[in-house]
């Protein structure tokens, strides 16, 4: 990645001996995410991927340990005040509000928008390929377009950390690639720290610079994406990814957009 285009830097995210338990499965994370890089978080179902993002976003509170964003302990900071934006797999939009309003909520939670806000919203919609669809309702959009609206809102919110919780899992392969490229493009412009939960090795390899592999509620392995997909990852990761990954990777390497 060329650093020349980056005018705003992401901040590092760290989970310092965080423990958490929801029901029975205990969770213990001790991991750091490099600033301004895209880290793919992978692991089997129930390994704690979404919980990790929820802890960073502030939807869950650790039982012990600290969550540090940009070096600051955010324990007392409510979700909206954290320097974080998050895109969920679904329900990212309010069904009764227009595209424009849904994006506008990223600027003002009461939708009181200044002219500067309006300009930023229009620009974000243009950038995410939604120009001309400002007045539409979410139900008049395709699944991919809805996630574009969510990404446009991320742009106007302009926070240094972006959390992606399998946002493209329900899209078809081609559409998913387009969306990944869009995320990679936004990352190139804004340089935010991206934590990207995905089940798809291809996705992780397509835009991920690092990989954090979770297993059974702990961090099982950390490394660069290139190492992981070159077969240097841990045994558990290779078993999780299976045979298909190797093929997918070799096909995708040439198209990696960064």
């Amino acid at each position: 990645m060329s650093d020349g285009a980056v005018d705003r830097k992401g901040v590092p995210v760290r989970l310092d001996k965080v423990s958490f338990s929801y029901g029975e499965a205990p969770i213990a994370f001790d991991v750091a995410f490099a600033a301004a890089e895209i880290t793919a978080i992978m692991g089997p179902s129930g390994s704690g991927k979404s919980t990790l993002l929820n802890l960073v976003a502030g939807f869950e509170t650790p039982q012990s340990g600290r969550v540090l964003i940009g070096g600051t302990d955010v324990a007392a900071v409510p979700p909206a005040a954290r320097p974080v934006s998050m895109v969920f797999q679904e329900n990212n939009l309010f069904a009764h509000l227009s595209v424009e309003q849904n994006v506008g909520l990223g600027r003002s939670p009461s939708l009181r928008l200044t002219e500067a806000d309006q300009a930023a919203i229009a620009e974000a919609l243009e950038r995410t390929g939604l120009g001309g669809k400002e007045k539409r309702l979410p139900r008049e959009l395709s699944g991919g377009e809805r996630q574009r609206v969510a990404l446009a809102r991320v742009l106007v919110r302009d926070r240094p950390v972006l959390l992606l919780d399998e946002p493209f899992a329900s899209l078809g392969p081609a559409l998913r690639d387009d969306m990944l490229d869009l995320v990679a493009g936004l990352h190139a412009e804004r340089g935010m720290t991206v934590l990207f939960v995905t089940h798809q090795p291809q996705d992780a390899h397509r835009i991920g610079q690092n990989v954090v592999f979770l297993d059974n509620g702990t961090v099982a392995a950390v490394g660069s994406a290139d190492d992981f997909f070159a077969g240097a990852g841990p045994e558990a990761f290779r078993r999780y990814v299976g045979e298909s990954a190797g093929n997918a990777v070799s096909r995708d390497i040439a198209r990696k957009p960064t």
Binding site: P78, H96, P109, L111
Partner: protein, 538 residues
Amino acid sequence: MQRADPRISAGIIALAAITLLIGGAFAGLLVEGAHDLSGAWAAFDPYLLRVVRFTLWQAILSTLLSVIPALFVARALSRHPRFFGRAFILQLFAVPLALPAIVAALGILALYGRAGYFAGVFSAIGGQGWPGIYGLSGILVAHVFFNLPLATRLFLEALRTIPADQWRLANQLGMGALSAFRLIEWPTLRAALPGVAGLVFMLCITSFTIVLTLGGGPAATTLEVGIYQALRFDFDPARAVALTMLQIALTFVVVLVLTRLGANVVGDTNLPVAPRRYLSVNGTETTLNAVLIVLALLFVVGPMAATVMAGLGADLGRLAGEATVRQATLTSAVLAFLSALLAVMLSLALTMARRALALNRRAGPKTLLEHTTDTGASFVLVVPPIVIGAGWFLLLRHAGDVFAIAPVMVVTVNAVMAMPFALRAVRPAYDAASERHERLCAQLGISGWARLRLVDWPSLRRPLATAFAFAMALSLGDLGVIALFGSDSVQTLPYLLLARMGSYRTEDAAGLALLLGLVCLALVLAADWLGREKVRNV
């Protein structure tokens, strides 16, 4: 994360208001009882025992007469999942739920009363003058009119839960109607029976208007009517306290038994939809079922038709011009509107608080507050409106003019009584919306007023309107509280109707009943329609 959520504060305020209303009533009763302890004891005389016995007796008979036929009508309807007019019959069976009791009572009198449409027929059969159906028979007919359709719909819903595969299997094994009933239908019905019978029993034991209008004398008086008479006619507060205490004890025991049986004390207004069935019904059974359904239909439609016919026979033009009628209509409309508004606000506050508490709690055990906002709310139904009214009546009679607070009592008591029904409309919608929006709102910092305006209001508009219309219909038709507090200066339509009946101006009463019935029906239909239209989700 654990800062005070305004939603929880709203719930606490709502609970405090409800507690004040019910607590005040109990305080009134206790103060009065302590004031005249010997008088209260002396009130436990043979007459009182007779009243208790009659209360139980009419409720048992009403329950049996409603529930047993309902079993077979429901079965007949379930054996024929598709025929012309089936949906319409089920719609008609929902109408009694919407009709104010006093309107139904009038319809029954117009049909079977001494001067009713059937009086000539009955006189010819009996060989002597038809005395009309006052007393126990009148009460029973009215209770069955209300509860047979209700029980039928509930049983039908139970039968609908039988998996289609069981029917396919029964068909393949060549089960006849009797074996299918014994092996498939009866086990399901038996499971639903205690709940349905319990609900009907509860409704009959707390029935006020029917007994007041059709009871026709001291021989057929229940506890609730006794409370009313003690306060309004004999002015015997000690007796009122004794009767109220008995009524509370009785409903408490009934509800305790009901909850043990797993009964749903709130009832339901949903229409069962016919599923695909694999049935073979032979000719004899079809005829039998048809006869059953037609009989039940005639029984339910009769009083409704009589209400309409008698109402159209009234001098509606003159009634509409009468100042008293206009005033009562206006009073009813305003009070019912305020009552519905209050009911909706209470239920919304409780819903939001319950959800917020559940979200804060995560996996831990429920707190007492959450329990109270959850199931606790529907237990207000245990306290009959007459009891709350009587308590406040006794408390306030020392403080000045009791009748001056009539509007406040009517609005608040009816609002609290309608609240459990409103909750059922509002809560699922709010919880579903919250499920979708909660994290997004937290992430974007949308809270308080902005959240209500931008997020909650759009998804709650329709369910709130449903709850409002239903609460307004309930409040509009209520005769319980206004019977105690009504006076010449504050009259609602049901109160005026009762007064006209009392002074034998039957035609006027019929006209008013038609008006009241139509308005309530329109409101409930609106509530149903608003509730059915689904909000599209992303």
